[in-house]
Symmetry: D2
Amino acid sequence: MKNTFGNSVSLTIFGESHGEFIGAVIDGLAPGITVDENFISSQLALRRPYGKTGTKRIEADAFKTVSGVFQGKTTGTPVCILIPNENTRSSDYSLSAYIPRPGHADFTANKKYHGFEDYRGGGHFSGRITAALTAAGAIAISALRNKGILIGTHIARCAKINDRKFKNLEEDIALVNSLRFAALDEDKGKKMQDAIKQAAKEGDSVGGILETAVTGLPAGLGEPWFDSVESLLSHALFSIPAVKGIQFSNAFSKIDLPGSKYNDPFILNSGRVETATNNNAGINGGITNGMPIIFECAVKPTPSIFREQKSVDLMQMKETELKIEGRHDPAVIHRARVVVDSVTALVICDLLAQRFGTDYLGE
Amino acid sequence: MKNTFGNSVSLTIFGESHGEFIGAVIDGLAPGITVDENFISSQLALRRPYGKTGTKRIEADAFKTVSGVFQGKTTGTPVCILIPNENTRSSDYSLSAYIPRPGHADFTANKKYHGFEDYRGGGHFSGRITAALTAAGAIAISALRNKGILIGTHIARCAKINDRKFKNLEEDIALVNSLRFAALDEDKGKKMQDAIKQAAKEGDSVGGILETAVTGLPAGLGEPWFDSVESLLSHALFSIPAVKGIQFSNAFSKIDLPGSKYNDPFILNSGRVETATNNNAGINGGITNGMPIIFECAVKPTPSIFREQKSVDLMQMKETELKIEGRHDPAVIHRARVVVDSVTALVICDLLAQRFGTDYLGE
Amino acid sequence: MKNTFGNSVSLTIFGESHGEFIGAVIDGLAPGITVDENFISSQLALRRPYGKTGTKRIEADAFKTVSGVFQGKTTGTPVCILIPNENTRSSDYSLSAYIPRPGHADFTANKKYHGFEDYRGGGHFSGRITAALTAAGAIAISALRNKGILIGTHIARCAKINDRKFKNLEEDIALVNSLRFAALDEDKGKKMQDAIKQAAKEGDSVGGILETAVTGLPAGLGEPWFDSVESLLSHALFSIPAVKGIQFSNAFSKIDLPGSKYNDPFILNSGRVETATNNNAGINGGITNGMPIIFECAVKPTPSIFREQKSVDLMQMKETELKIEGRHDPAVIHRARVVVDSVTALVICDLLAQRFGTDYLGE
Amino acid sequence: MKNTFGNSVSLTIFGESHGEFIGAVIDGLAPGITVDENFISSQLALRRPYGKTGTKRIEADAFKTVSGVFQGKTTGTPVCILIPNENTRSSDYSLSAYIPRPGHADFTANKKYHGFEDYRGGGHFSGRITAALTAAGAIAISALRNKGILIGTHIARCAKINDRKFKNLEEDIALVNSLRFAALDEDKGKKMQDAIKQAAKEGDSVGGILETAVTGLPAGLGEPWFDSVESLLSHALFSIPAVKGIQFSNAFSKIDLPGSKYNDPFILNSGRVETATNNNAGINGGITNGMPIIFECAVKPTPSIFREQKSVDLMQMKETELKIEGRHDPAVIHRARVVVDSVTALVICDLLAQRFGTDYLGE
């Protein structure tokens, strides 16, 4: 199931950077979910690249929902969303057919598809496809919000600059979802943006860490082993290009704690069982415990840089140098944040439908 | 597919800590793979708990292969391996039915299964089930070795003590696979073991980081999006209890590098395309590039500690204190390492069968 | 997913005719379903071969449930049932390794598994494996009965003898489920049994048609296209060896009706929407409409006959003659009926869990 | 996986009768398969309705391939085909929202989707969606033809008129694939068409039986149990609206044969193992034996008739009468034939990719 993911709610994606459309088919959504086209547009806008200073006019991707929505609501049958590609100047990419760009999928595509791949702009590997994930995810995010389940992601670290930690989760989720550049600390956010601009000047790029919180989940979602919540989320999140690491509640640091500090004691809060700490990130034994899910994604620096790089000419089988032309982002982390929210929302919709049946998220 | 994972090669697991058998069904293995029962035994031995000083007699789990193997080789039909449970003293666990142990799945199991769960010793959530993963994985590891694909895991960090880094991968894989306690640096390994013993004395527990290398893979395995190699590996690895984070090639640190340093330049090495560095961990665009796959798993401290902990009595719905009795490990990281190898091997068998067909791994 | 079937409720089977155990793992059953071991036994007894005159002592298969059941009820985690093989005289089958029996899977197994298959008694292809389906199905049948969903199958035709049609479905389902040889008309049943004995005398075998009814289903189960109720049922039913045809409500005859007769008019019956006829077999557009599901399975004559048959010696690659030795049934249709009920029940449990969530079938 | 089917090669469909587009996403096709747009067009033309006398201008559906094809060949990534809907006069269908048409899915859609379904023209249940199956299938049919695997379907029975049987399979497959109305016997074909016209005059409809042959398959495809070739084919074929029965090699008649006649003896033909007869339809134990696969589909009379029919007004919950307006076919069997070929081809591509790997069908 290469380009399809999910059980009760599933997503299929298709398209290439330079084709006519990219798109997504979401199946298994409950009938009766309101589809808010403005919200889809605004989520797509968050994903789109924008100018060095952030002041250029932001234009959302055009998209159309060609099935599965009737009179503004989901019908319960597959929702197909199409997003047209624009400005598909293919001349920029002719070299990548045989001189693979370091850090990109040109070489592995060639090994897998034997030269039949659409090499223009990364083809099916292009980050462009995440627009389809984002549009699909927007419907999922809306549906969850109606059930009191909220998702928010901030840029926890970028170019060695740390954002402040999450404090009040619900307020902070509202805050990041109102921001174009999702740093909780405005000042740190500016410094990050300066660092991104500086990297651009140097023909280089930067990466970072995204931290995501999900609140309002019921206890009892997920499965003990292969369909643990961590398994399903990581499966979907590692699909996002540039994500190379996932940890729940800062696990790579917290493993230094002794068990007596790491274990989350159970307490009663207004008659509800909660945990005093949340080192397990809302998940015990693969199953939600009702506390917020917290995770971090390591986002590598975007591989498109404007410096001379070493590569191999696959036709002549000799080493060569390569310099990438065209327009490229010196960072994707600020745009990836909405993609992370989107795939997270789709996984949670799937978990809810699996647990409570296909009608659960409808109205 | 709650307890089943994989496409062309799939694994189904079952069992509880205190049932008669736990077991695994591996389906889709090529016909003609030699099943080496001694190797299965020795892998199971690596997973078993052993005494504080490591000198107690190590006894492998009994197991039997009840289907799918004929005249010492796989038939191509499902292989079922059964492992009997011993010493199932259920009296130790009666409390966990309604006073959930912090860090364990008692509470979430109760929320999901409404009290019908087998609460004895963690039931189906027990780390015991990883013995089934290990036995199944042993067959996969053997099959891969016959194709020149090697897997090894060392304890990169435990109780704040770091092992040395991987140097010569093939030698280091051979080294760790010869060790009971898988530290590359013998001295660091002793210090880790001392720290584990010290934690035990204090009724506490420790966690750490496992680092895994896979060598000998062909380029072109995996898929661009949802079945990226990172997605499939992380899905399987997060099934292992205690794993709370996964990164490829130390991504959480390396995201601080600029793109010009993170990108892996392509070079020619004896006529073969390789990369000069391996920050992408052998995977570009979700697909293997022929370089080693390297990843790290964050393993939380084992939740079974012998100190008084806060919990909630779910029957009376009031806060209470809990002290766990019985025998429990102060660390699982040294045992988890063989489980990591096992699920890694199963995922790679699946990728190979998907790519090259169902006969590929046979003889 | 070769030996695994189902989405929310799934079944994995394993084993060979002459291995130590065959078995089944049922995953996704709601927690809290009562597991009635006597009922499993009696269902297994219906599947077992019995003597020519039906008077020999009928001995149920021994079986054990080694996981997923605690204090007599399902826990919600995988249920593994093991059935030991007895009387595994392997000498009878040595020839089938290279002289394939007509109508059997010996030849295709050899082509698929290259000689590594366990050829003894049909190996993994043996009808013996249907005992595992039957044991798993017994739990599903019980769970459905508790929800008022009843399943019954009669031998509609055997050796050219027709049973009477279903009349009052609920009475007839109760009737067939009380019978060892499931003919609604006792006299026709005797004639069928005589014909089976006669075939045995002649070293030959007979086939027939099984007709199944399912009552008490809610409307709204299933999906429009690939997961239509017809698709899912037929997928599972064609897994049963010897089934070579499936029709819903005698479709192969009824296609001669004009649309004006075939269409089922909607009517009101005590305030409930029903159809006046049921030519669509309770399924419109792939989805249940609340009327009974009715289908027929064509069961081929058992291929094990005691006459000389033509075959090919695959070692010497020359034509030869073959005479099968040992004990074999001259018909399997009367035993297959409980297997049909079993896989039907499992599919319906899956449809209900998919629709109403994982708790639906629990208590 | 409601609207997705297949393992190594999978198909996802979407769309409604009156939406902007319907479409299909085919994933897992080997890279390098030539995509012949003329052949897709001609296959779509075979599926389109045409006038009573067959003389009206036949206009193929417009379609566009928006991903997965580059320079005329498959890339190996998902192929999305879009087909625009035309003449979507929605006023004709407003009644079916609450007065369900007998034999249609209006009632079950309402039960499943609670009134959120797009009721216009059958919505997602419309036979219109089979155009997407047909376009996708055309690529699969071409790919198989390049490997010497041929598929053909004739109208074995329609309105009680029988076509002649298949004789020389390869010639007959070529013949039917050259015909617009696929009767092998020209005279019988005319009689069938007359009967269809007569039914139309009477405001009625007719059904029939389609018989399909697949030649050129290697032995060894498919799996013993749940992924038997019969299981996979029937799963896909029962997705086609109006298909209510499937038998392999006329099983519902042939079950009257004794085993000694039904069994297919193995013989040598020019050094190749074949069977003297083909009652098992090329499949033993779920796996292809290298002989042609032969199966028949029972196609119910189209439910859209122009006579007054009984139904229930679901708003007022009282019985009423309904007369369907608009343009509708008095038969779909002659159009369904190309849909049967299409889903058959997709299943066989999946089986080949599963067996021989993802490159097998490429060039």
